[in-house]
């Protein structure tokens, strides 16, 4: 059973990253490959505010979130906005370049060592049937579900949420209806960056934070988002947990070196059968 709990722990991390991917996809139709770097920056800012400046947890979170919100805004305003030819492939390439830049900056500021962020809750082991899970992992799982609930409500029922979705469907039509598409695009990056910071901040006590972490968490989070169906928060959540549990399961039954390979084979198989992902909507396109 332990593989299940292990899978849920790593799965919740993937899920949070996957949700970040979905926000930007839901408004711009883009894949932001710097999402993993947002997570790293979030963890590193928490380290800076908590350990280096010795602030209390509340203000540390607040400062981290505000800074990352600004990073998201800058990201969109400065870099994506000035791309001459705004095709999807161009913009996605820009996000890859930015991911590399952010990684380099993180290395220069915080160095190559892994940083440890102190735990926010008392470190306890919760015994469950056939295994155990730590109190820190439970926090991550709760935050994961909470985020998915808040975001899907926001996108479905609020005025702004609907504006976000309208931008994804048709930017020209949205502009005609009086939606400030530029603002919405900027906000979607800001929220994604904020969510990355949230993910980074709450997983940092479990996994530590190293400047290269963004590569793998970005990749796994992206896979989770694809697995669950791009654009669906619950899909991202479920995709993340599923990917984590599959990995844990293969680490348990096979020589553990194969676990990543098998997790991705399962991912491929699902995509062969259902290309839109487990929770993805089929898009009808009128010709």
């Amino acid at each position: 059973m332990q593989f299940l709990y292990s899978g849920i722990t790593s799965g919740s991390i993937y899920a949070l990253v996957a949700i970040g991917f979905n926000i930007i996809y839901n408004t711009t139709g883009l894949i932001n490959f710097a999402q993993g770097e947002f997570v790293v920056l979030g963890g590193m800012l928490m380290y800076t505010t908590l350990t280096m400046f010795g602030l209390n947890i509340f203000s540390a979170f607040l400062i981290t979130f505000i800074l990352m919100f600004l990073v998201g805004i800058l990201f969109e305003r400065v870099f994506l906005r000035y791309v001459r030819l705004k095709t999807e492939i161009n913009l996605i390439t820009v996000t890859i370049a930015l991911a590399i830049i952010l990684r380099g900056i993180a290395m220069m500021i915080w160095g190559r060592d892994s940083l440890a962020v102190p735990s926010y809750v008392e470190e306890k082991t919760v015994l469950l049937v056939g295994g155990s899970i730590t109190s820190q992992s439970l926090v991550v799982i709760v935050v994961c579900f909470f985020t998915a609930i808040v975001l899907s409500t926001f996108f479905k029922y609020t005025k702004y949420g609907k504006a976000f979705r309208a931008c994804h469907d048709d930017q020209v039509a949205s502009t005609i209806c009086g939606i400030d598409v530029n603002l919405i695009r900027m906000l979607s990056f800001a929220i994604a960056s904020f969510l990355g910071a949230l993910a980074g901040a709450i997983v940092a006590p479990i996994t530590f934070v190293t400047y290269t972490d963004g590569v793998m968490s970005g990749l796994k989070g992206f896979s989770a988002a694809i697995l669950g169906g791009l654009g669906s928060f619950w899909g991202g959540l479920f995709g993340g947990f599923l990917l984590g549990v599959i990995e844990g399961f293969f680490a348990f039954i096979l020589p553990s070196g194969f676990k990543d390979a098998f997790a991705f084979i399962i991912l491929l198989l699902i995509l062969f059968v259902k290309p839109s992902g487990l929770f993805g909507k089929k898009k009808a396109v009128r010709v």
């Binding site: 332990q2 593989f3 709990y5 292990s6 899978g7 722990t9 790593s10 991390i13 190559r112 060592d113 892994s114 440890a116 082991t125 295994g131 155990s132 730590t134 992992s137 997983v203 479990i206 996994t207 530590f208 190293t210 972490d213 793998m216 990995e247 844990g248 399961f249 680490a251 348990f252 020589p255 553990s256 070196g257 676990k259 990543d260």
Partner: protein, 369 residues
């Protein structure tokens, strides 16, 4: 006639003020920079001291340091530059195993001795007349662990090794040495450096009921393993490799580090060595000088640089131009890591005596007897 005097004067001058050019290839930037920096600082400190005391046989040392950026190809380029442009007599470094292996053939081609500070056994095996190393091999660490475990009747051992060069080489020597010490390997698991939760691997290991779990890795992953190990309350002794013998590991793993045992160089427990220990007399002054000068804690990697420059000094003192043959004749040099006994067939010179077993107790290193 005037010309003759000028030439004679220049010849005398060049003899009197002759310097010995020593090259150093160190990873001062890139992933291995945490190793390269203390090496550079140690070399600079030592060379300054040697020159202040009149140099070697009256000749001052001129140390030329190049950064290899932790890149193998860069090490090759800088090696050629040291040999052709700077005309050095001997090269210290490179810092990492990959870089050392990359210049192995060049050392033979240019007939310039190289004293590597990296650990891979392949640097000196198969042997190359001009390539030496001062860092102990994985075999030495494994022998130290196994002899401790078998002395403490913990013979059922589970392995958990990282899937990269470091882990593979450790795993190979763990598997190879097991039967020499009567150790039975009950599980052989691997993990990736990017894994964030190792409880799956550990619960699989727990099912085999080992007496000890040996984890072979560096970086943050061993700290995660230590935490997971504590979480699952595994009833076994957790053993780590010498790769985590740094304050960074304890900082990451916090109280999960307590109780872990590992092989390490004597440097981190120098103050706990018995007063008559022959290494204590070398380590304490070095640590005092280094920490006094650079205001940072000493690192075992600086110790490799210390040993390398001492070996250079000894080999030059022997006289003659064939430094490689001189190094092969060095016996019983007591360094920071152990006693070096070089020979024509052993270009490392260390034995398992290079490591001692230490335990992390109350987040501090404690020497195990």
């Amino acid at each position: 006639m005037k010309k003759f005097f000028t030439i004679a004067f220049l010849l005398c001058a060049s003899y009197l003020f002759a310097e010995i050019k020593v090259g150093a290839l160190l990873a001062l930037t890139g992933p291995a920079s945490i190793l390269g920096l203390p090496e550079k600082q140690t070399l600079e400190m030592m060379v300054e001291e040697i020159n202040k005391n009149g140099g070697i046989n009256g000749h001052k040392i001129n140390l030329i340091v190049y950064d290899t950026q932790s890149i193998d190809d860069e090490a090759r380029k800088k090696f050629i530059r040291l040999v052709q442009k700077d005309e050095v007599k001997i090269v210290l470094g490179p810092t990492t195993s990959g870089e050392s292996l990359a210049i192995k053939d060049l050392a033979l081609q240019y007939k310039i001795p190289v004293i590597s500070m990296a650990s891979s056994d392949r640097i000196v095996n198969p042997i190359n007349k001009y390539v030496f190393k001062v860092a102990p091999s994985d075999d030495h660490a494994v022998q130290t662990i196994y002899s401790y475990l078998s002395a403490n009747k913990k013979v059922k051992v589970a392995l958990l090794t990282v899937q990269n060069g470091y882990g593979d080489s450790g795993r190979a020597s763990l598997l190879k040495e097991a039967k020499n010490f009567g150790i039975e390997i009950v599980a052989d698991e691997k993990y990736l450096d990017t894994d964030k939760d190792m409880t799956s691997h550990l619960s699989k290991i727990a099912a085999k009921k080992p007496d000890a779990v040996i984890c072979w890795g560096v970086g943050p992953a061993p700290a995660i393993i230590a935490k997971n190990f504590m979480q699952l309350k595994l009833n076994a002794q957790l053993v780590m490799s010498h790769g985590v013998a740094s304050a960074k590991f304890i900082e990451l793993a916090k109280d999960a580090a307590n109780g872990i045992i590992l092989p390490a160089g004597r440097m981190i427990v120098a103050d706990q060595l018995p007063a008559n220990d022959k290494y204590k007399a070398i380590l304490l002054p070095y640590i005092k000088d280094y920490e006094g000068r650079y205001k940072t804690p000493v690192s075992t990697f600086g110790g490799h640089a210390y040993d390398a420059i001492q070996i250079v000094q000894q080999s030059i003192k022997m006289g003659g131009d064939d430094l490689a043959s001189n190094i092969e004749k060095i016996r019983g040099y007591v360094g920071t890591y152990g006693t070096f006994n070089f020979s024509e067939t052993d270009h490392n010179g260390l034995s398992k005596d290079a490591f001692v077993m230490v335990k992390i107790d109350n987040m501090k290193w404690k020497l195990l007897k």
